[in-house]
């Protein structure tokens, strides 16, 4: 469902000139699986996912999502993905129901289907009591629920989550993780970025460890453990990252 080939992105930067946020990366995600992008802050996770959601344009390479090219068919891509990140806030002056319905309509759902979906989702995420609450009055957890509801209102085949649990307390984070797992069980193709090992171990079928815009290692968790002979995910992660930094230092030296 998601094919990424040599995807690259660089930004002009006042201080350092042109900065490559993403060196060519290649990976793919299949339906019914959760692909985890694991990396420290600033690794290029957000850039990569923003390109997949067509908000940013790549400066090199290609990516298709649900069979559509992110560069040439952005509208088609957007209609088939649900995207949620720390940056996708909800409107302060809209109620939960209005918010979800608004996006449902933008995704082109007709009124009957919309009503059905909204009821279904509100039931599933247990958010009927905040139905008519304005965004400004909600707690972080409530907002996150509304965001998830907004993400899946059109029942997209592909879901992109950019650090969906960052800044949440354990309870809410757990609810979010459960919602994501449930979506995988429905056969969705899910890509998921995080810097929390526990989440990766719990949710992801396959991971890509990304650092400084490069994918350093990729595969199913047991596979990685075998390949590097390191059963502890956290150790493995540090090992890969520091080795890469050493290599970079040697190159520049």
């Amino acid at each position: 469902m998601i094919h990424v080939r040599n995807l690259a992105k660089s930004f002009p930067d006042l201080r350092r000139g042109s900065v490559a946020a993403l060196h060519p990366v290649t990976f793919e995600v299949r339906p019914g699986e959760i692909y985890g992008l694991l990396g420290p802050n600033g690794a290029g996770k957000t850039t990569c996912l923003r390109i997949l959601s067509t908000v940013l344009k790549p400066t090199g390479g290609a990516a298709t999502v649900a069979g559509y090219d992110v560069r040439t068919q952005p509208a088609e891509v957007r209609a088939r993905i649900g995207f949620m990140s720390g940056n996708t806030g909800i409107y302060d002056r809209m109620t939960a129901a209005e918010m979800v319905e608004y996006f449902g309509r933008l995704y082109g759902l007709d009124e009957d289907r919309l009503r059905q979906r909204v009821d279904e989702i509100f039931e599933m995420l247990q958010m009927n009591e905040i139905r008519d609450l304005l965004g400004s009055k909600m707690s972080t957890g409530m907002k996150q629920k509304v965001s998830i509801a907004r993400t899946i209102v059109h029942d997209p085949p592909v879901l992109i989550f950019d650090e969906p649990t960052s800044g949440l307390d354990v309870l809410v984070a757990r609810a979010v993780q459960q919602a994501i797992a449930a979506l995988r069980d429905q056969g969705k193709c899910i890509i998921f970025s995080t810097h929390i090992m526990r989440e990766v171990e719990k949710l992801c079928d396959r991971v890509g460890i990304i650092h400084r815009g490069r994918i350093l290692a990729e595969g199913a968790l047991p596979e990685l453990e075998d390949r590097y002979g390191e059963p502890d995910m956290e150790e493995l992660f540090f090992e890969l990252i520091s080795r890469h930094d050493r290599e970079l230092a040697e190159q520049t030296a």
Binding site: K9, V55, K57, G60, P74, R78, L106, Y107, R150
Partner: protein
């Protein structure tokens, strides 16, 4: 773009805004409260505030003639004022002995009167020291005027003596010598007298200085000093008139009148002085009439012209005048403010609240999002403007009906304009609101936060206010040229439509005004959409800005050709330099050769140098930037042929559009004439053809076009480079002409990939214009074979100008079409500068490899 999404976004934004208390307050509540509030305030002010009386002190009042009396009771005789109530605005203090009032010790007003008396005494005490210098000044002035009188007598005597000397010169040498001596003596006397007058005049300065010093210390607005014996002198002349013994040479007729002292730089003093002056004039008139009657002359003698004005303004016209000024101004300012706050909230606010990305990942395209937001902003802009107008109009009307004969009614009757005019208000509001909404949205999209957004309001408002004030200035009326200017066009049209004299005549401007306004709005909307499609604008992060860092970035991250922004900056720089040099060039009284030399220096310094410097410093390949390569021969041929066919077309087009542009200021026309007047042809060609061809091409087809084209939007680059080229010419006629030529020049430069054909074209075109002007100016220099026979089909001499006849124009147009087609047709395109080297993967040059490159506008 689907309207469903636009409508969805529009409805959401409107609902969102109407849930925002601040926006609602700004847009709906404020106007509804503001004007009635202002109205109440005004009523309060007029009730509480009556004009403070100004202090007028009269010294020597006892010397004033008693018939007719200037003063009456405590003040100036109300009969001398146009409006008798004006007398009350002047509090007059005289040094006349106060009339003893009936001494009722119990009079409650007594203490007040005592206070007034004390104040009067204080004022008089302040005023009295000025009496001496005033007298001194009067004495000197009397001396001066007497001396001037004798000076003119001496002059008469001298003329007579000279004549006598000339008459004697033919016969008698002895008599001649006597007369010569006489003339010399008179001349000496005159010189001495003039010297004395000069001395007296010099004496006046310190005295006046002293008076002004003393006056500044007092609280007096006007001081009148009546000279001693003034009354007797007037009576004396009156007596002589009655006895018919007055004659022109009478020494005693000269007498000084009252001196009035005021400080015109002080507004209070100025107002009081104006009133006193008018009263004294009327009083003087009465005295004159008296004298005329003593002399048995009709009183009409003093009014030999007796002009009689008729003011045909009717009441409703006066009121319409008030509205025709207020409505356009208010409409524009409220349309801006009404657009601004929602725009900031909708764009920058959305970024700030973190919902921008939420919106960007929904299937609605960016165009749909922008159009939806734009329509919301426009709706609020229009409602703000209309609510303000409505509230102000109703308040004004109510106040006018309430106040009756108060100060407000003096502005004119405030009845509302008719329905037809109000419909026009709405029709013209649409393009205005659209323009402002799109501009505000683009600015707000660019802003990182609401706070940053607010900062952009001030410049926008300043520009708008400037244009509004321009539209309000008396004497400005709609012309074809103004009608196509943004903001100014609609405002002037509205003013004209609301004005009382406005019939159907201004309606012919409705089409150009509406068409261009809608065009500008679409341009602004396009800019907003463009802003919205740019990642660096949408995901702008707070970056530490340091000038040094930025300059280092400019010098380090160079591209082979300049960037879009650098091209824009180069143009701004050229314009600023032009502006700075404007004074030198137009104040200079030099003519001829010096003028030409100055023009060449201007070309070199102002136009070529900035572009060359920027090209060398900011790009890695000045060669590519300035298109320094040999063109193909074909291109050279086209560039050489085009001027000859375009010159007649351009000339006749400009001639046929002369009605459209405001006439050239006389100064500039004169300068142009001076410059081309009598210099040698070679020099004129050098200054008007060679220098511009090289300098302007280096700047506009070199640096600026390369920069604008760096984003690969060919037509945008062409349009912008030719527009900037046009604007650089400053004078509206030339702006239009040069913009069109800029298109052709840009095409030539882009297609040939070389600057040489553009220079060639530019040189030939300008040279033809110079030659054409020359032939016309010399009139008869047109060879005979052109003046007769078949040649008259093609050219004709009229008003010292060679005019091209239609066969010439048709042939030229056909040839131009053929040549331009060759230029435009992509097949014949001479290969352009080689494609930029592919950067190391993902390393640099992000812009160029992107599918649809973002572009910076403005």
């Amino acid at each position: 773009m689907t309207w469903r999404n636009v409508r969805l976004i529009l409805l959401r934004e409107v609902r969102d805004q109407s849930r925002d208390r601040r926006t609602l307050f700004m847009i709906a509540i404020l106007p509804l409260l503001l004007y009635p509030g202002l109205g109440i305030g005004m009523v309060q002010m007029t009730v509480l505030f009556s004009e403070q009386p100004r202090t007028v002190v009269v010294l020597g009042a006892e010397h004033l003639p008693s018939d007719p009396p200037l003063l009456q009771g405590d003040g100036i005789n109300p009969a001398w004022f146009e409006d008798e109530s004006d007398a009350r605005t002047l509090a007059v203090v005289t040094d006349l002995p106060r009339s003893p009032n009936g001494d009722d010790a119990e009079d409650p007003a007594d203490s007040g009167r005592d206070q007034a008396a004390a104040r009067a005494a204080a004022l008089l005490a302040e005023a009295r020291p000025m009496r001496a210098p005033v007298r001194e000044r009067q004495a000197i002035r009397e001396n001066i005027s007497r001396a001037e009188k004798s000076l003119s007598e001496l002059e008469d005597r001298r003329a007579a003596a000279e004549q006598a000397r000339r008459a004697a010169a033919e016969q008698d040498a002895e008599a001649t010598r006597v007369h010569e001596g006489e003339v010399e003596r008179i001349k000496r006397e005159m010189a001495e007298l003039s010297g004395r007058i000069q001395g007296w005049k010099k004496d006046l300065d310190p005295i006046e200085e002293k008076i002004s010093e003393l006056f500044a210390k007092t609280g007096i607005q006007v001081l009148i000093v009546v000279p001693d014996g003034f009354q007797q002198k007037i009576a004396h002349v009156n007596e002589k008139l009655k006895r018919r013994t007055l004659d022109a040479a009478d020494e005693e007729d000269y007498y000084s009148g009252p001196t009035s002292i005021a400080n015109r730089a002080d507004e209070k003093s100025l107002i009081a002085y104006t009133r006193v002056k008018k009263a004294i004039e009327r009083w003087e008139r009465r005295i004159l009439e008296q004298r005329l009657s003593y002399a048995d002359l009709p009183s009409t003698v003093a009014m030999p012209v007796n002009a009689d004005p008729i003011d045909v303004a009717r009441k409703e016209q006066l009121s319409a005048n008030v509205w025709s000024k207020l409505f356009p101004a208010l409409l524009i300012i409220m349309a801006v403010t009404g657009a601004f706050y929602p725009a900031v909230d909708l764009a920058a606010g959305e970024k700030e609240r973190g919902t921008m990305e939420t919106l960007l990942i929904c299937p609605a395209s960016r165009t749909e999002i922008v159009v939806g937001k734009f329509l919301t902003v426009m709706l609020f802009s229009m409602s703000t403007a209309l609510l303000n107008l409505l509230s102000m109009g109703l308040t004004g009307k109510y106040m006018a009906s309430m106040a009756g004969g108060g100060a407000i009614s003096r502005m004119g009757d405030l009845t509302f304009p008719g329905f037809g005019s109000l419909a026009w208000v709405i029709v013209l509001l649409i393009p205005l609101a659209a323009l402002f909404s799109a501009l505000c949205l683009a600015l707000a999209t660019f802003a990182r936060s609401s706070k940053e957004g607010q900062y952009y309001l001030t410049p926008l408002l300043m520009v708008t206010l400037g244009l509004t004030v321009f539209c309000l200035s008396p004497g400005i009326e709609i012309t074809p040229f103004y009608s196509i200017m943004p903001i100014v066009g609609p405002a002037l049209l509205l003013r004209e439509l609301l004005a009382p004299s406005g019939g159907s005549q201004p309606l012919i401007y409705a089409i150009p005004v509406l068409a261009t306004s809608i065009g500008y709005s679409l341009l602004a909307l396009w800019w907003a959409i463009d802003q919205f499609a740019r990642e660096d604008v949408l995901f702008r992060e707070a970056e530490r800005f340091e000038l040094g860092l930025w300059i280092r970035h400019l010098l380090r991250d160079k591209d082979p050709v300049p960037s879009f922004t650098e091209a824009g900056f180069c143009f701004v720089l050229i314009m600023l330099l032009q502006f700075a040099a404007f004074k030198i060039l137009h104040a200079a009284t030099v003519a001829g050769v010096d003028m030409l030399r100055l023009m060449m220096i201007q070309q070199l310094v102002i136009i070529a140098t900035p572009a060359l410097l920027m090209g060398v410093m900011l790009t890695t390949s000045p060669r590519r930037t300035f298109r320094l390569r040999m063109p193909s021969l074909g291109m050279l041929a086209i560039a050489a042929a085009l001027p000859f066919v375009l010159h007649p077309l351009s000339f006749e087009l400009q001639a046929s559009l002369s009605w459209f542009f405001p006439p050239l200021p006389a100064e500039i026309a004169r300068t142009l004439k001076l410059a081309t007047g009598n210099a040698s042809l070679w020099l004129v060609l050098l200054a008007f053809a060679v220098a511009p061809a090289i300098c302007e091409e280096v700047a506009f087809r070199g640096f600026i076009l390369s920069g604008f084209h760096s984003t690969r939007r060919t037509w945008l680059a062409l349009a912008l480079s030719s527009l900037t080229f046009g604007v650089m010419h400053m004078i509206p006629q030339q702006v239009f002409n040069a913009s069109l030529l800029g298109l052709v020049l840009g095409l030539i430069a882009l297609r040939s990939g070389s600057l040489v054909p553009a220079i060639l074209f530019h040189f030939l075109f300008n040279a033809l214009a110079v030659l054409h002007g020359r032939v016309g100016a010399e009139g008869a220099a047109l060879p005979d074979w052109l003046q007769e026979g078949p040649a008259t089909w093609f050219v004709r001499l009229s008003h010292q100008t060679v005019r091209y006849q239609w066969p010439t124009l048709v042939l030229a147009a056909l040839a131009a079409i053929v040549l331009l087609r060759i230029l435009v047709k992509p097949g014949t395109r001479a290969d352009e500068a080689p494609a930029p080297p592919v950067p190391p993967a993902g390393a640099s040059d992000a812009r160029r490899t992107a599918g649809k490159p973002p572009v910076a506008v403005g």
